[in-house]
């Protein structure tokens, strides 16, 4: 195993600690939504994006229209456009097929680690380091989902294990609320989602997300 690949895996270890509960909860949510273990793991392989998977699972569990399920998940993953644009220059020299392979492993965590590392040092092999972070996170994600769906199917309803889902989001949300515009985006997004919870086709989440984004942009422009 080459040095840079190993460095990527090593640097990702603390991240794995955060991925484990997230993956377990996603598996549990899949079981509670009524997915089979094959569907749950299949989703983790094909989508490989936790927040969107959890949102999709919640909507699937409520038998929301498939268009709403897909639309909501895609809006949540739009943020990765930004990562793709930002990391693209580092991958520009690789062949088309290699770039497609690298793109599959692009997550919040892999992006953040890789960009920080590329800025730091000149002699890292970009591909190896990135794959060390990305593939190790992927492996934890897949195994964690599988364990979660198996465990989740056997726990009594009254324990309310599905409550762990919003708790995971809360744990990511709080550090994401840095600065006033982001806090405004969260406050408006949350409030609208609560008020719009009764909307038909489970459109409350989408309505909350879009109005939160709009409010964040407005707040940013006002404060300039």
């Amino acid at each position: 195993m080459n040095r840079d690949l190993r460095a990527g895996i090593y640097d990702a270890l603390p991240l794995h600690l955060g991925v484990v509960p997230f993956a377990l909860v996603t598996g549990i949510a899949a079981a509670e939504a009524g997915l089979t273990s094959v569907q749950a793991v299949g989703m983790s392989v094909l989508v490989f994006a936790g927040a969107s998977q959890l949102a999709a699972l919640e909507l699937l569990g409520e038998t929301a229209p498939i268009v709403v399920v897909v639309g909501t998940a895609v809006v949540i993953n739009l943020r990765m456009l930004m990562y793709s644009a930002s990391i693209a220059p580092y991958f520009a020299d690789y062949r088309q097929r290699t770039r497609a392979f690298l793109a599959y492993f692009l997550t919040d965590q892999a992006y953040a680690m890789a960009i920080a590392e590329y800025g730091d040092e000149g002699d890292r092999d970009e591909r190896s380091y990135y794959l060390g972070v990305g593939v190790s996170i992927w492996a934890v994600w897949i195994v964690g989902t599988f364990v979660g769906v198996v465990v989740g199917a056997g726990v009594p309803e009254s324990w309310g294990l599905s409550f762990a889902v919003p708790l995971v989001f809360l744990a990511i949300l709080v550090p994401a609320m840095k600065g006033r515009p982001r806090t405004v985006a969260a406050a408006v997004g949350g409030t609208v989602a609560v008020v719009a919870a009764g909307l038909p086709f489970n459109l409350g989440l989408l309505a909350g997300a879009l109005s939160g984004i709009a409010a964040g942009v407005l707040s940013e422009e006002v404060s300039r």
Binding site: Q39, G42, R99, L170, P175
Partner: protein, 112 residues
């Protein structure tokens, strides 16, 4: 429990998967720069995480009840507030889940 059949579920999974991969590949494929994203779009994308996460969290903690008291004295909201305080202090996912679940069980089985 979902009432969708396997075809609808797999359809949703594949559609989300393909769209998500297209998003990931977009600029890596075009090997553009971050400057290629229009500034307004870039600004909007910055607010996707807080807005989406809050829209996911809030309805799971708060259900508008007939009275203010019924809305506020909800085991999920109280447990969520405890977990939120832990998230703010520690920024640790495990600790947040642990305290949140413990608080939920305390309210559910011992208090209410």
């Amino acid at each position: 429990m979902t009432e969708h059949g396997p075809v609808a579920i797999w359809g949703a999974i594949v559609a989300i998967g393909v769209a998500t991969f297209a998003i990931r590949l977009s600029f890596i494929y075009l090997f553009g720069q971050i400057n290629a994203v229009p500034p307004r779009v870039r600004l909007a994308l910055r607010f996707v995480p807080p807005a989406v996460l809050a829209a996911l969290v809030a309805p799971a903690l708060v259900t508008l009840g007939p009275t203010i008291q019924a809305t506020l004295l909800d085991e999920r909201l109280l447990a969520g507030l405890a977990a939120g305080a832990v998230a703010w202090r520690t920024e640790n996912v495990f600790a947040t889940i642990g305290v949140g679940m413990a608080a939920l069980w305390t309210f559910r089985f011992l208090v209410f």
